[in-house]
Subunit: 331 residues, 2 copies
């Protein structure tokens, strides 16, 4: 056993957004490692919160159903926690551009209310904030690293960057010990499969499983990095356990790089069904499209010993198997 994994035995951990894709996979892994897990989730409409996500650990975690902005509940859930994974968010780029105020209320104001709750009941808590690769937006130079200038292309990306910074200000305000991981495209079991408003690579799997046609905008040759959920969870766990990561920001890459159209082909191959065609970019999507994604995650690897272990082929195989078995809970 690596020494960092011992940190989680008996560790009191709160996960915001813990009924969603990332949060629930993290919760399951934490329970396996012997952590004492609490979940705070608002089950907001259209987001990924789903009780079935925590079915394997349902009786071994405490769950508060309330939005981050509900101060009383947030305080009750946050008190005495050793570590908080702050994952709750409105994750849709498109919604953020249609309804900026909704995005800002959900992703900014609620988050700062939550930080104020922490300031009152757990001001020196260890917090891992889940940011987004979108904070970089469209970049001039690849690969992307923590040094890449920020050029957010939509309201969601601005909000995520602002809240990462607000978190860091709480180190000054009350001693909060913050780490941020700027997530890339993550896929795997327990993602919502109702719509393509966010996490589109997951929805493509549904389309292929249903033998539908997938639309590829433009030539589809933009580079993408698909990170299998278990690799993302592993990164989050390491960041939460290691003191040297306090006050730091990290990027995360994938085991392999793939062109978007090749990803679509791999999904169709794995499912054994589905097909695709090309279409010109719609204006609203093109405006917020960020181009190639290639990440230099040397800092994450060096600081934590993390490296991705699941190939795209293997990850897709596991994902499709999960949804074939549990389709009724996600369709």
């Amino acid at each position: 056993m690596d020494s960092w994994t011992e940190f989680y035995q008996g560790c009191r951990v709160l996960i915001t957004g813990g009924l969603g894709f990332l949060g629930s996979n993290l919760a399951i892994r934490l329970v396996e490692m012997g952590a004492d897990v609490t979940i705070l989730d608002g089950l907001l409409e259209g987001m990924g919160g789903n009780w079935f996500n925590i079915q394997p650990i349902r009786d071994r975690v405490e769950v508060f159903v309330a939005p981050l902005s509900d101060e009383k509940t947030a305080e009750a859930a946050s008190k005495n926690q050793d570590l908080i994974f702050n994952i709750a968010m409105q994750p849709s780029h498109l919604i953020s551009m249609e309804r900026p105020l909704y995005d800002i209320e959900t992703n900014v104001v609620s988050q700062v209310r939550f930080l104020e709750s922490l300031r009152r009941v757990n001001p020196r808590a260890r917090v891992v904030y889940v940011g987004s690769r979108a904070q970089f937006g469209r970049v001039d130079r690849l690969p992307i690293s923590e040094e890449t200038p920020l050029n957010p292309r939509d309201v969601y990306a601005v909000s995520k960057q602002a809240v990462e910074w607000y978190h860091l200000q709480y180190q000054t305000i009350c001693g909060l010990r913050v780490t941020s991981l700027r997530l890339g495209n993550t896929y795997g079991p327990r993602h919502q499969m109702h719509h393509a408003q966010y996490g589109v690579q997951n929805y493509l799997i549904r389309l292929a499983m249903e033998d539908q046609e997938i639309v590829v905008y433009g030539d589809g040759r933009q580079w993408r990095e698909l990170i299998y959920i278990d690799d993302t969870v592993d990164a989050l766990l390491r960041l939460g356990a290691m003191d040297r990561c306090v006050g730091e920001i990290y990027c995360i890459g994938a085991k392999e790089r793939v062109r978007f159209v090749e990803l679509v082909q791999a999904i169709i191959r794995t499912c054994g069904s589905g097909r695709y065609r090309h279409e010109p970019w719609p204006k609203d999507r093109e405006a917020i499209e960020v181009g190639d994604v290639i990440t230099d995650d040397t800092k994450l690897r060096t600081h934590t010993g993390w490296s991705p272990t699941v190939s795209l082929e293997e990850g897709l195989r596991r994902t499709v198997a999960f949804y074939q078995e549990h389709r009724g809970h996600y369709w």
Copy 2:
């Protein structure tokens, strides 16, 4: 007459925060140039809004007293305007760290409500947003330019950066034509003189005029750039008039650079009263102190032909003369 000044003859201009320091000086200049000026100001408590500020043009401008977040009033004030100077803000770094939610409600949510109002009634308006040098925070390398990585050190600075970016997203959302000027320390007539919560260099003038003792934290040898209000107004006017500035961000420097303690000495010299002593940095101030300020404003100069014209000595002389004459309206 330079050709850009003709732009303002008969130009319909809205100034948010137009009863404050920057807004009122801008309004006076705009009226002189023949513009049709409307002011929207919430007269928020503790901020710089002051009816006396627009006394020279009181009967030549329309004034709406309402916060930016008041949609009905904001729409009435914004409709049919050719140009909007969006200046309204909560300007205190210290307040933002004590009351982050207040800062975010005032500087972020209200601003986005205002942008939504524009989206409804004037979606392709020309907007000059007034940002802050604080968005850069503590920098690794001097001078500061538009390329300098962002490293905000307080909640105020995060909010100002987020709202600059939100403005730029509205180019995508509805075609808003935005320019941002990241202001440095500006001084001159019409600044609030009640407290040192923001615009401290102005408050120092009051202390010296009252023959009080000014406290200089540390050795006071950090570099500062003091920009006289007329030079700032000139920059804003150029940015608002020139099409090439749409979608662009600008920094602004001063005519001279001065060490903070030398600034204090110059103020005392100009006033003919006051004195100073050194003290160690208080913890809350040190945490948000950004160090030396040296700006490369080549972009602003090249794009607009702007250059600062008022020396520190002359600017201080004019400022002290103004407050000696109008002390009753500011003390």
